[in-house]
Symmetry: C2
Subunit: 148 residues, 2 copies
DNA sequence: TCTTGCTCCTCTAGTTGCTAGAGAGATTAA
DNA sequence: TTAATCTCTCTAGCAACTAGAGGAGCAAGA
């Protein structure tokens, strides 16, 4: 049986994050020691590893919840898991496409910025005037990809 | 003079978002009508357009704040704006690289999932067992890119 | 003039996926 | 025993908004 700190080391998931996962029901409530400290066995460790890998692959927690409930019923068809992974793949591809367009536009801005003065700065100018940028940005609700 | 709704239409930024920008000081406090409604002139509209473009290019609000304060002093060197844009470009490139790796791994998972039963499902298996996936994921604090 | 229907106001709270900190108790090594 | 290092619960905070309540402003038609 591991305490939460050991589990954290073993899994690469931080202690508060483990507690958070328990709180939102991704992990079952842990057993407790006599002194009320959480204790984890091998099953919990595997489940946490599963969650970490899925997070690393960009799956949102809701999708992971679904995948976990699927993996609890190993006799069922793989189709649902496949669908979740496919959706994630499509999302990743869309983000790559979007970011690639952003990259091109940033590069264009920067190349034209010849190191002068703000008044002539392409960066400022392009941001201030839509006519000076090339890509068409659909006016979407959620605009962006922000650095993490 | 535009009311907030017209400004929203003109700029493509939602009404509550405009108020939010004012609250956090990205936009100056708007003039008010006799009935306490916000009124905007051309300057505010330009500033908001600037913000929207920058957001679309993925600049975080803090960087936009810096860019705006730069653009208020047009005699200064362009170097600071250039640095901000370069940092953003680097961030975008890093995210593309990361996402491209994720994409490859997701594709590998999916190709091997032959439409069987959960027990044999590659998706579940790979997520549950790190030995079955190829890329080395450094155990980083902030793990992921999550779909927006 | 009144009413209808839209906009606008402020305020609070929720989203996602955590992270940070306070103040107190548990456990372990010297 | 005592000190150091966990661990506990709780609250609050991060980005960048979004949603909703409850009330007021305003333009146009009957």
């Amino acid at each position: 049986m591991l305490t939460i700190g050991k589990l954290s080391q073993a899994s690469g998931v931080k202690v508060p994050t483990i507690r958070y996962y328990e709180e939102i029901g991704l992990l079952p409530e842990a057993e407790r020691s006599a002194g009320n400290q959480r204790l984890y066995g091998r099953k919990a460790q595997e489940r946490l590893t599963f969650i970490r890998h899925a997070r690393e692959l960009g799956f949102p927690l809701d999708a992971i919840r679904d995948l976990l409930s699927l993996s609890d019923r190993p006799d069922q068809s793989c189709a649902a898991a496949d669908a979740i992974a496919s959706a994630q793949l499509a999302a990743v591809e869309a983000r790559i496409a979007r970011l690639t367009a952003l990259k091109a536009e940033l590069e264009r801005m920067l190349i034209q910025c010849a190191g002068g003065v703000i008044a002539d700065c392409r960066v400022i100018e392009v941001l201030g005037d839509h006519a000076k940028c090339c890509a068409d940005h659909a006016p979407s609700g959620h605009l962006i990809e922000v650095a993490g």
